[in-house]
C-alpha cells in the first residue's frame, strides 16, 4: 500500500538521541520525554498524596482518636486535596496528552517545544514551593479551596502564602500546556487528519485546553487578590472593612468547577480510545461523543455556584445554578451510553486496561448519579459539606479519572517503554483496587447522611460512626496494597516485560503505527489517513472505514 512521507527532511534526522543521561532529560524539549517527566512527577505526588490519605484514614479509623493533632490533620487534608488536584491529576493528564497527542495526530512534536518544557518545570517548581511550607513554618491549613476569611489574617498562617504562590506557578505552567495543545492540534495534524477524524483522546485534550486557559486564568486572578489581601493589606474578601467573603467563593468556583472537568475530560478521552480497541469495534456515535465534550465544556463554565447553595444566594440563583448543573448530566450521560453501546455486540478482550475501563463505567456512573442529586438544591442543602460529598467526588475523581488513567497506563505502557506490563499483576491490581476503593468510599455516603461533616479531625462516638469509619479506613489500606502492586508492576515490567512490538493491542490510531518506543521524530512515514482508524484500514483493505459514510 502507499505511504505518505511526513515531511521531506524527517527521514534524514538521526533516530538515536545522542546520549541518554540525566542532563538529556532535564534539558529535553522532546514531547515524549516531557510527557514522561510529567507523569513521573504525577506519580511521585500520587505517592505523597496517597500517604497523606493514609494518615487521614488512620486518624479517622476510630472516634476521638489522637494520632494527629487537629493542626496537623488540617494541614494534611489541605495538602492531600491540593496535591492530588494540582500536582497529581493535572500533571498526569497533561503528561499523557503531551506524550500522545502529537503521536495521535501524526506530528513530530508539540507546536512549542520550549514552552512545553517551561510548563513542566513550572509544575515541578510549584510542587516544591508547596512542600517547602512544611519546613518554612507550617503547611497551609485552610483547605484546598481556602475559603475567606479563614484563609486570611488573623485566622491562618504563612502556609496559605506558599499554597497560593505554588498554585499560581503551576497554573502558569498549565496555561502554557493548554495553549500548546490548542496550537498543536490546530496546526500540526498530518495530511488527511481532519478534525472529524481526530482520535477522541486528542479531541478531548483539545477542548480541555480551552477550559484550562479560561479556568486557570480566573484562579490565578483570585490568588493574586488573596495575596493582595494577605500581604499588601487589601480588603477584597475581608467582611469587617467592607470586603465580601462570598466573592472569593464565586471566583474560586468559577475556576473550581471547570477544574473538575479539566480533571475528567482527558480521562473520558482515554476511555474513548481503550473501550473500542478491546471491544474490537469503533466507538459508538463518534460525533456525539465529541460534541458532548464541547457541550460539557461550555456548560461547566455556568454551574460554579452549585458549590454554594448553602451560602443562601436566594431562590432565583439557586434555581438557575441547579438547572444548569442538572443539564450537565445530559452530555455526560450521552458519553456513558455510547461507551456502553460500544461494548454491545463486540468481541471483548479482558486485558487489565479493559477491566479498568469497565470498572470506570460503573464507578463513574455512581459518581454521576450522586452528582445529579447535588444539582437538586434541597438535596444539596442536606448533603453538601458532609461525607456524602467526599464520597461523591472520590467516585468521580478516583472511580472516574484514576480508573481511566490506570487503564491508560496499562494500555500505553507498551508504546512508551517497548515492553508489556504484567497482566497477572495487573489483574491483581484491578480486583484489589476495586474492592478497596468501594470499601473506602461507599460507606462515606452513609456517614454523610448520618450527619458527619467533612474535614473534621475527629468525631464523637455516635452509633455506627466508628464502625463505618473503620470499614472506610480498612478499605483505604487495601487500596494502598493495590497501588503497591501497581508500582511493583511498573518497575518489574520496565525491566522484564515481554517486548511489545509496534502494535500489541491491534489498535487503530497513529501512535501504534510507529515503533515502541517511538523514535525521536516519531514517524519516518505515516500510513494514509482516510478515516478515524487508519490502522484498521491498513489491516482490513476489504472493509476499510473510509468506505462508510462518516
Amino acid at each position: 500500500m502507499s505511504e505518505i512521507s511526513l515531511v521531506p527532511e524527517a527521514a534524514d534526522v538521526p533516530r538515536n538521541v545522542s546520549k541518554v543521561n540525566l542532563l538529556s532529560w532535564i534539558s529535553s524539549v522532546d514531547h515524549k520525554q516531557i510527557g514522561i517527566m510529567y507523569i513521573i512527577t504525577a506519580i511521585v505526588f500520587l505517592v505523597v498524596g496517597g500517604l497523606e490519605a493514609m494518615l487521614i484514614r488512620l486518624q479517622l479509623a476510630q472516634p476521638n482518636a489522637q494520632v494527629l493533632s487537629p493542626e496537623a490533620y488540617n494541614q494534611i487534608f489541605t495538602m492531600h486535596g491540593t496535591t492530588m488536584i494540582f500536582l497529581m491529576g493535572m500533571p498526569m493528564l497533561i503528561g499523557f496528552g503531551n506524550y500522545l497527542v502529537p503521536l495521535m495526530i501524526g506530528a513530530n512534536d508539540m507546536a512549542f517545544p520550549r514552552l512545553n518544557a517551561l510548563g513542566l518545570w513550572l509544575v515541578v517548581f510549584g510542587g516544591l514551593v508547596l512542600y517547602y511550607s512544611f519546613i518554612a513554618g507550617g503547611a497551609p491549613d485552610a483547605g484546598w479551596f481556602s475559603y475567606t476569611p479563614l484563609s486570611e489574617p488573623p485566622f491562618s498562617g504563612t502556609g496559605v502564602d506558599y499554597w497560593a504562590i505554588s498554585i499560581i506557578v503551576t497554573g502558569i505552567g498549565s496555561i502554557a500546556a493548554g495553549i500548546n495543545f490548542i496550537v498543536t492540534v490546530l496546526t500540526m495534524r498530518a495530511p488527511g487528519m481532519t478534525m472529524r477524524r481526530l482520535p477522541l483522546f486528542a479531541w478531548m485534550v483539545f477542548v480541555n485546553s480551552f477550559l484550562i486557559i479560561f479556568a486557570l486564568a480566573i484562579l490565578n486572578g483570585a490568588l493574586v487578590m488573596l495575596e493582595a489581601d494577605r500581604l499588601l493589606g487589601a480588603r477584597f474578601f475581608h467582611p469587617i472593612v467592607g470586603g465580601s467573603p462570598v466573592l472569593w467563593q464565586h471566583i474560586f468556583w468559577a475556576f473550581g468547577h471547570p477544574e473538575v472537568y479539566i480533571l475528567v475530560l482527558p480521562a473520558f478521552g482515554m476511555i474513548s480510545e481503550i473501550i473500542p480497541v478491546f471491544s474490537r469495534k469503533p466507538i459508538f456515535g463518534y460525533p456525539f461523543v465529541a460534541a458532548s465534550t464541547v457541550a460539557i465544556a461550555f456548560l461547566s463554565m455556568g454551574v460554579w455556584a452549585h458549590h454554594m447553595f448553602a451560602v443562601g444566594m436566594g431562590f432565583g440563583w439557586d434555581v438557575f445554578f441547579g438547572a444548569s448543573s442538572s443539564l450537565i448530566a445530559i452530555p455526560t450521560g450521552v458519553k456513558v451510553f455510547n461507551w456502553t453501546a460500544t461494548l454491545w455486540g463486540g468481541s471483548l478482550r479482558f486485558t487489565t486496561a479493559m477491566l479498568f475501563a469497565m470498572g470506570f463505567l460503573v464507578e463513574f456512573t455512581i459518581g454521576g448519579i450522586t452528582g445529579v442529586q447535588f444539582a437538586l438544591v434541597p438535596l444539596d442543602w442536606a448533603t453538601t459539606d458532609s461525607y456524602f460529598v467526599v464520597a461523591h467526588f472520590h467516585y468521580v475523581l478516583v472511580g472516574g479519572t484514576i480508573f481511566a488513567v490506570t487503564a491508560g497506563f496499562y494500555y500505553w505502557f507498551p508504546k512508551v517503554t517497548g515492553r508489556m506490563m504484567s497482566e497477572r499483576l495487573g489483574k491483581w491490581h484491578f480486583w484489589v483496587n476495586l474492592v478497596g476503593f468501594n470499601m473506602t468510599f461507599f460507606v462515606q455516603h452513609i456517614l454523610g447522611l448520618m450527619g458527619m461533616p467533612r474535614r473534621v479531625y475527629t468525631y464523637p462516638d455516635l452509633p455506627g460512626w466508628g464502625l463505618l469509619n473503620q470499614i472506610s479506613s480498612i478499605g483505604g489500606l487495601i487500596t494502598a496494597v493495590a497501588w503497591l502492586i501497581f508500582i511493583v508492576n511498573l518497575v518489574y515490567s520496565l525491566r522484564n516485560g515481554k517486548p511489545a512490538g509496534d502494535n500489541p493491542w491491534e489498535a487503530w490510531t497513529l501512535e501504534w503505527a510507529t515503533t515502541s518506543p517511538p523514535p525521536h521524530y516519531n514517524f519516518d512515514q505515516l500510513p494514509p489517513i482516510r478515516s478515524r482508524r487508519p490502522l484498521w484500514d491498513v489491516a482490513h483493505p476489504e472493509n476499510p472505514d473510509w468506505k462508510h459514510d462518516h
Binding site: 493542626e71 469587617i240 465580601s244 443562601g312 450521560g333 448519579i369 448520618m450 461533616p453 473534621v456 462518516h550
Partner: protein, 303 residues
C-alpha cells in the same frame, strides 16, 4: 437525614429516596449491560472481528431525550421542595438568632432577651425561624434530622426554618470547615413540649442565683480572674468572646459538645481546656484546689 423529624427533613428525605431509586435503576441498566456484555460478547466466541457498528442516530436521540424528561420532572420536584422548606421569612421576626464563632455557637432568643450557647431549646411542632450570623469566619449550621443546612457568614444574614415533630435531643454540627476545632463545634437542639419550653425560657430569663457558701466564694473567684473578660453571666452582658455562662448548670455539655457537663469534667476543663479541645481559645487556669472547687460549685449552681 436518617430518621427525619420535621416536615423539611421529610421532604428532603422523599426527594433523596426518589432520586436514589431512579439513580439505582440507571446504575442497574449501565452495570447490567456491562456485565451482560462481559459474558455474552467476550472474545473467542466467534472468529474474526465483530460487525463494525458506527452508531445509531435514533439511539442517541433516545438516550438524550429520556434523561432530559427525567431531569425536568426531578428538577420540578426539587423546586417544589425548595418552596416548601425554604420560604422567604418576610417581615417575621426570628425566633432564634444563632451566631457562629470559632468554635462555638451564640444562641439568642430576641423576643425573650435570653442568651445562651451551643444548646438550643425549641418547642415541638412549630416552625422555628432561625436568623444566622457569622461572628468571625464562615461556619455552617446543620441539624440533619430537622432540615437543611445553611452557612453563617460574617457580614451577611441568612435565615433557616427548622422544626422538630417530637421531643428529643437532636445532634448537629458545624458543617463548613472553620479552622482548628471545626470538629468540636457541635450543636444540640433540645425539643420540648411548649409548656416545658416556656418554663425553660422563663428560667433562663431570670438571673440564676448561686446558693451555698462554696458557690458564693466561686462567684468571687470568677470575678477576680480573667474569666469575666470573655464570659458574661448577666443576659445583658456584652462580653461575647466566649459563651454566656449565666445558666451553665442547666447545660448538658461543655466546650460545644466535647465533654459532658459534670462537676469533675468542668474542673478538668477549667484547669486545662486544651486537653479536650486543642486550639480552643480559652487558656487553662491553675487555681488552688479550693478556688477551683468553689468556681465549679458556682458555675454548676447557675441553673
Amino acid at each position: 437525614m436518617f430518621s427525619p423529624n420535621s416536615p423539611q427533613a421529610y421532604s428532603i428525605n422523599n426527594l433523596l429516596l426518589l432520586t436514589t431509586i431512579i439513580g439505582g435503576v440507571i446504575l442497574l441498566i449501565i452495570g447490567g449491560v456491562v456485565f451482560y456484555s462481559a459474558f455474552r460478547f467476550r472474545s473467542g466466541l466467534r472468529p474474526g472481528e465483530p460487525p463494525q457498528i458506527f452508531g445509531s442516530r435514533n439511539l442517541e436521540f433516545l438516550w438524550t431525550g429520556i434523561p432530559v424528561i427525567v431531569l425536568i420532572v426531578l428538577f420540578g420536584f426539587a423546586v417544589n421542595t425548595m418552596r416548601q422548606i425554604d420560604p422567604a421569612p418576610g417581615q417575621q421576626p426570628p425566633d432564634v438568632i444563632v451566631t457562629g464563632y470559632q468554635w462555638w455557637w451564640r444562641v439568642e432568643y430576641p423576643q425573650a432577651g435570653v442568651v445562651t450557647a451551643n444548646e438550643i431549646h425549641i418547642p415541638v411542632g412549630k416552625q422555628i425561624l432561625f436568623q444566622l450570623e457569622g461572628g468571625d469566619v464562615i461556619h455552617d449550621f446543620w441539624v440533619p434530622q430537622l432540615g437543611p443546612k445553611r452557612d453563617t457568614i460574617p457580614g451577611s444574614t441568612n435565615y433557616l426554618w427548622l422544626q422538630a415533630n417530637t421531643p428529643d435531643v437532636y445532634l448537629g454540627a458545624c458543617s463548613e470547615y472553620c479552622g482548628t476545632q471545626h470538629a468540636w463545634m457541635r450543636i444540640r437542639v433540645i425539643a420540648q413540649p411548649q409548656a416545658e419550653f416556656d418554663q425553660w425560657l422563663q428560667q433562663q430569663r431570670a438571673a440564676a442565683t448561686p446558693s451555698g457558701s462554696d458557690a458564693m466564694r466561686g462567684a468571687q473567684v470568677f470575678q477576680q480572674n480573667t474569666c469575666v473578660n470573655c464570659h458574661a453571666i448577666q443576659q445583658t452582658g456584652t462580653n461575647w468572646a466566649g459563651p454566656n455562662l449565666g445558666h451553665l448548670g442547666s447545660r448538658q455539655t461543655i466546650g460545644a459538645g466535647v465533654i459532658e457537663n459534670t462537676p469533675d469534667n468542668l474542673a478538668a476543663w477549667i484547669t486545662n481546656p486544651q486537653r479536650f479541645k486543642p486550639g480552643v481559645k480559652m487558656p487553662g487556669y491553675q487555681l488552688s484546689p479550693a478556688d477551683l472547687h468553689a468556681l465549679v460549685a458556682y458555675l454548676e449552681s447557675l441553673k
